[in-house]
Symmetry: D2
Subunit: 99 residues, 4 copies
C-alpha cells in the first residue's frame, strides 16, 4: 500500500523548543533515503506502508535515545488503490483547480 | 516501546456511513487478541509498538478489501520510557485529580 | 453545525505527567455544561460548532494560565448535515454491526 | 493566542477525489486574507486563535454547501506564550540544526 503521511513527534516534559528533535528525525530520514518534506507543523513522508512506519519508528527511538522519556506522536495518512499518486501530484491537483 | 494509541480509518468516496467498516476493524482486533476500546471518535489500542501498528495495518487492508479505494487514517499515540502505563491508568490518573 | 470531536491538549516543556492539566480541562467542561467523555487518548465532546470550539479554547487558556508556555493541541471532528447523530449513536451503530 | 495550525477537511460519502474541495477552501482563505501554506497532507495556517478557527469554520461551511453531507476534519496546532513565532521561523529553526 503506497502511503502518503504527515507526522509530528512532540517530546513531553523536556525542552520547550523541539527543533533539535525534529532535526534529528530529518537526519534519520536522510539516512533511510525516504522521500520527505518538512513543513511548519510536521513532516510529510511517502512510500510503501512498511517503509513509512519503519521510518517513523526510527525517529521515535532516536528521540527517546536523546533523553525525552515521553513522546506524543500524531500521524495522518492516506492510501488509495485506484491510482498511484505522489505528494507533488496531490498539491498540483489542488493548485490547478484554484480560481 | 509500549504504545497507547487512538486511530480512525475513514473510507473516502464511498458510503456516508462508516460504521460497518469500523465494525470490521473491531472484528479484526478481536482476532488479533489486542487490547482495544471503541470510543465515539475512534478506537483506542495499546501494546508493543509493532503489535499496535500491525493491527492498524490489518484494519487498513481489510477495509480496502471491502471496496473503498481510498482511506484517510489518523493515529495519535504516546510512548514513555519512565514508567509502564496502561490505558486505564491514564484515565484513573485524571479522574482522581478532578475536584 | 452539530459537531462531534475528540481533542487532546499536551503542554510541552513542563511536566512529564499531564493528568493535572487534563483534570483542569474537565473541570472547565463541567462548568460550561457541555457534553463530554474522557477516554484514554483525549476527550470527546459534542455540541454546536461554536460551543465545541469555545470549550476547547477555554481549556487552552486555562492550561496556559497554570504555567505551561507551549501547548500542542489536536482536534479531530465530524459534522454531518444528513442526520442528527450524537456520540452514543455512533458507538451503538458500530456495536450492532460487530459479528 | 497566536496559533500555528495544520488542518485537513475530508468530505465523506461523495467523490474519491477531494482536490476541488481543498481548492475551494484555499479560495476562501485568500478572501479572508489569512496567512496559509498548502502542503501534501493539509493546509498550514497561522494567526490569532479566533482568526484561525473562523477560517476553518468558513471552509467547513463552504464544503458542506458544495454538496458533501459529512465532513471529517483534523486540526493540529500549537500556541506558545514565551515568544512570538511564525511558521517560517519554525522551519528555519529546524533547518539550521540539521547536520
Amino acid at each position: 500500500m503506497y502511503t502518503i503521511a504527515t507526522f509530528t513527534l512532540v517530546p513531553v516534559g523536556k525542552d520547550i523548543s523541539i527543533s533539535k528533535y525534529v532535526a534529528a528525525c530529518i537526519e534519520e530520514l536522510k539516512t533511510l533515503n525516504v522521500n520527505y518534506t518538512l513543513h511548519a507543523n510536521g513532516t510529510n513522508i511517502e512510500g510503501d506502508w512498511d517503509e513509512v512506519f519503519s521510518a517513523i519508528k526510527q525517529c521515535q527511538i532516536k528521540i527517546h535515545d536523546m533523553g525525552p522519556q515521553r513522546i506524543f506522536t500524531t500521524i495522518q495518512l492516506g492510501t488509495r488503490t485506484d491510482k498511484k499518486q505522489q505528494m507533488e501530484n496531490k498539491i498540483d491537483s489542488v493548485l490547478k483547480k484554484i480560481k
